[in-house]
């Protein structure tokens, strides 16, 4: 959507920001690992070998083994894939529904806006994780329901950001000009308003990727996420907690992975924000 020179300008600004580049590197590494998990992982992440239960770090198992003797590195690598699936689909749900509702309310205003925003307020009034928890508890814990739960609880953020951005874009003369040349409402929203309201939504999407990962891990930790033996970082952390004293390393690696990826998205999101909204005049 961004045009050539503006797009390349944003790219140049990001590349000049070392923190954003670090974030980008982490994200790219994460995507690579998730995409090629079967080729990278040394072992089957679900293969148990009780004789190697809590095996220490070694050349064969760079991160050691867990209580069932599964290779932790392989589980982390496949866990990346699970996390990415959760992130991608839940953010997609929130993005599509949130942007739709926010754009509708922001553009038309009045009663419709009022109604949409009050529903969003109700959703926001629940502590996020509790809402997701309630949804998962209702639908039953599995990957699909986890995605739905996290997606639904992220809708209000997207709706609000979109609404605010749409309201400010709507005031521009080019929107009035679009009415004057006879564009219809949906065309005005899709061609004139949304493309110009998109930058805060992009930033929000990136930052949300981090929050969503944390929520997924939290729900996994509470046993409401992906069910074992499927590898997922939050669930791994949850299992490891029982052996925290005897085998701390089992908890450290999933924890570090979560932290690293969350940081990556936050770094990149902040860099993106600076690049898209530079205070400096050209």
């Amino acid at each position: 959507m961004a045009d050539r020179s503006q797009g390349s300008l944003v790219a140049r600004r990001i590349l000049r920001n070392p923190i954003a580049v670090a974030g980008l590197a982490i994200i790219l590494g994460y995507l690579f690992i998730a995409a090629f998990a079967p080729h990278i992982a040394p072992f089957d992440p679900t293969a148990q070998d009780l004789s190697r239960s809590f095996a220490p770090i070694s050349a064969g198992n760079p991160m050691g083994c867990d209580e069932f003797g599964r290779d932790i590195l392989s589980r982390i690598i496949f866990g990346a894939r699970t996390s990415l699936i959760i992130q991608f689909f839940s953010v997609c749900i929130a993005l599509v529904i949130g942007v739709f509702l926010g754009a509708l309310g922001g553009y038309f205003g009045g009663r419709l806006d009022e109604a949409i925003m009050r529903v969003m307020d109700v959703l926001l009034a629940f502590p996020g994780i509790l809402l997701a928890l309630a949804i998962v508890a209702m639908l039953g814990p599995d990957l699909r329901n986890l995605i739905i739960a996290i997606g639904v609880y992220s809708i209000p953020q997207f709706a609000r950001i979109t609404r605010g951005s749409v309201i400010s874009v709507r005031q521009n003369d080019y929107v009035t000009a679009a009415r004057a040349i006879g564009e219809n409402q949906s065309s005005i929203i899709l061609r004139y308003v949304l493309p110009n309201a998109i930058s805060p939504i992009i930033i929000q999407t990136t930052l949300r990727m981090a929050t969503v990962l944390l929520t997924a891990a939290g729900l996994g930790f509470l046993g409401l996420g992906v069910q074992p033996p499927e590898p997922e970082w939050g669930t791994m952390l949850s299992n490891a907690r029982m052996y925290l004293r005897s085998a701390p390393m089992v908890a450290v690696f999933p924890g570090l992975s979560i932290m690293l990826v969350v940081l990556g998205f936050n770094f990149f999101g902040d860099g993106l924000q600076d690049a898209l909204n530079p205070r400096l005049k050209e």
């Binding site: 600004r13 400096l280 050209e282």
Partner: protein
């Protein structure tokens, strides 16, 4: 001859941006005598506001960089002053009023308080009552109706014209020798503009201060200034006494500008047009910056940048076609 109050010589300023080096000012020289109004006129990007910021030393460095030049104010070199000296000088010796009175005032304090603060900055020991009297006096001086009530008003309760009066009161609070007015009436309506211009002129006469009046509006300049400097693309095109400039402009750019204004006093079938567009300040052409738009360009104009030269006493222009012969 009295020495000038302000003299700027050979000032060159660059801005370093993401896209490249912007040559905002190039070899600018002008001066203002005590009690004189100098009009600085030019179009967007000509450097008139940057010039004012340099005089007040308000140029952010970086991205700005003063490459060379000297600004002497009352015998002191502004560019080599310490930050503390500059701070003391601003407001007391020279003050500035801006284009937008709406955003120059702080919305959370009363206007009277803000004018008082301007005084306290330079006279920290002033007592409450004399301060109040001074503020009321200033409000009266700038013709704000009902000063006793007005000092307690917040900026949003005032019209644009009234806010500009408050800004002028603030600028005059310490009796500056030089007042810099950067497009002081551009945001105002015609009828209010006339009031503010008259006010500035009356106060300037009463206080005997000098004024650097920056405007894009040749009408404002003609009715206010004693002398005029025309800027184009970061250089001075012409400087002259106001009557000489409007009656007998020398630089082709000044002539073009005067021909391009729609007039109230006569019919014009078509407006005279200056062809082309402003050169890019990041990539200036060789020779005269106006050459590509100039009907009188000579071969030498493509090679050498013309320097300001005297054409008749007090009338200078930077144009090979004028000075070459």
């Amino acid at each position: 001859m009295t020495p000038p109050l302000l003299s700027v010589s050979n000032l060159t300023v660059h801005f370093h941006t993401e896209a490249g080096v912007v040559r905002a000012l190039e070899d600018i020289s002008f001066s203002i005598a005590p009690g004189e109004i100098l009009g600085l006129v030019g179009e967007t990007g000509c450097g008139k506001s940057v010039t004012a910021s340099c005089v007040m030393r308000l140029i952010p460095t970086p991205p700005g960089r003063i490459v060379s030049g000297e600004i002497l104010f009352d015998g002191r070199d502004i560019l080599s002053m310490s930050d503390e000296e500059v701070r003391l000088m601003r407001g007391r010796d020279m003050a500035m009023i801006f284009q937008d009175p709406m955003s120059s005032l702080n919305p959370v304090f009363t206007t009277g308080f803000q004018v008082g603060e301007a005084i306290v900055t330079h006279e920290p020991s002033i007592a409450r009552e004399p301060l109040r009297a001074r503020v009321l006096d200033l409000f009266r001086k700038v013709n704000i109706a009902d000063p006793e009530t007005s000092v307690n008003r917040y900026p949003h309760m005032m019209s644009g014209g009234m806010k500009q009066r408050v800004m002028i009161a603030m600028a005059l609070s310490c009796g500056p020798k030089l007042l810099i007015a950067d497009e002081p009436t551009t945001a105002l309506d015609v009828s209010i503009q006339a009031q503010i211009l008259t006010l500035i002129r009356r106060l300037q006469r009463e206080e005997g201060s000098s004024v650097l009046l920056i405007s894009h509006d040749l009408g404002v300049i003609a009715s206010m200034a004693d002398r005029v400097t025309v800027m184009y693309a970061g250089s001075i095109a012409e400087t002259a006494r106001v009557r000489d400039l409007f009656d007998d402009p020398q630089h082709p750019y000044t002539r073009g500008l005067l021909g391009a204004i729609p007039r109230l006093d006569r019919d014009q079938g078509r407006l005279a047009v200056i062809p082309g567009t402003l050169p890019n300040l990041m990539n200036l052409p060789q020779g005269c910056k106006f050459r590509e738009r100039c009907a009188e360009a000579l071969p030498v104009c493509a090679e050498k940048r013309p320097a300001l030269a005297e054409i008749r006493p007090g009338h200078e222009a930077a144009c090979h076609a004028r000075t070459g012969r």
